[in-house]
Amino acid sequence: MSNVGIVIVSHSPLVAEGTADMVRQMVGDEVPLAWCGGNGHGGLGTNVEAIMGAIDKAWSEAGVAILVDLGGAETNSEMAVEMIGEPRAQKIIVCNAPIVEGAVMAATESSGGASLKEVVATAHELSPS
């Protein structure tokens, strides 16, 4: 698919899945979408391996925008991008935006064929600078 992919990374699998449901309701299958949440051991948290897997699943040559909730999700997502390495890493951006609103807005922008830069800018508009 040529639309920008969206990855949702929450500490809670329920939040991640629920956010993904809201994205799907908005854009259907027009946007590559994946989510992950939880520490991989049944608890709350985020984990690099799962994030790398979600990026693979939502991969698009147009790039991937990642929406995160709290600090560890951001740090782990940045780590995952670094471990994926170039050339793909330059097409993956961790957004500074609220996770639910950011994911829905970013996906909506993506579904219209916007570039990664435009998708990320739309998500960033939701955060006070």
Binding site: N39, L44, T75, M79
Partner: protein, 200 residues
Amino acid sequence: MAALHLARLIAVAADTIAAHAEELTALDQAIGDGDHGLNMKRGFEAVRAEADAFAAKPLPDALKAIGTKLVMTVGGASGPLFGTLFMALGKEIAADPDRKNLAAAFGKAVEAVAARGKSQIGQKTMLDVLQPVHDALAGDKTAAEIADIADAAAEATVPMKALRGRASFLGERSIGHMDAGARSTALLVRSVGQAIGESA
């Protein structure tokens, strides 16, 4: 550094974290999300499980592999932060480092942790221990003196207001508690430093 030596350091580090896991969790519960002790223990036990394989590698490769293992197993923000510390150390260190090389490599590793956490000194984080430890390493302090410096630095996070991580959400209420990452860093510095000192 001999193969046995690195395996011994891993065992010492994992023992220390395991012995203090509940204390670390309690610190993190006070002003964080309360998973630090368990997360660190899981990560260091995963490293311990492959200690012989790590120890068989040249030191730079071993440290990079340990860092990657920590990234993959610790979770939380600590995984990437401690993982980055070891990965960057491995990138900079010599196969058979002297004190000068160790200090220089450690300095680069501290910078890498600061970049990963988008943090700096004085924000009530592990950096508040790492930086004085680096300064002491670059000077002529003994392992015992460095361990004391690390403990004092962790203690000095108590009156700080957290500006990074989950604790920062508490604002003023983060004052009066020791940062869990600073404590775990000091614990590792003491135990590993002591083991290196004994075998030197």
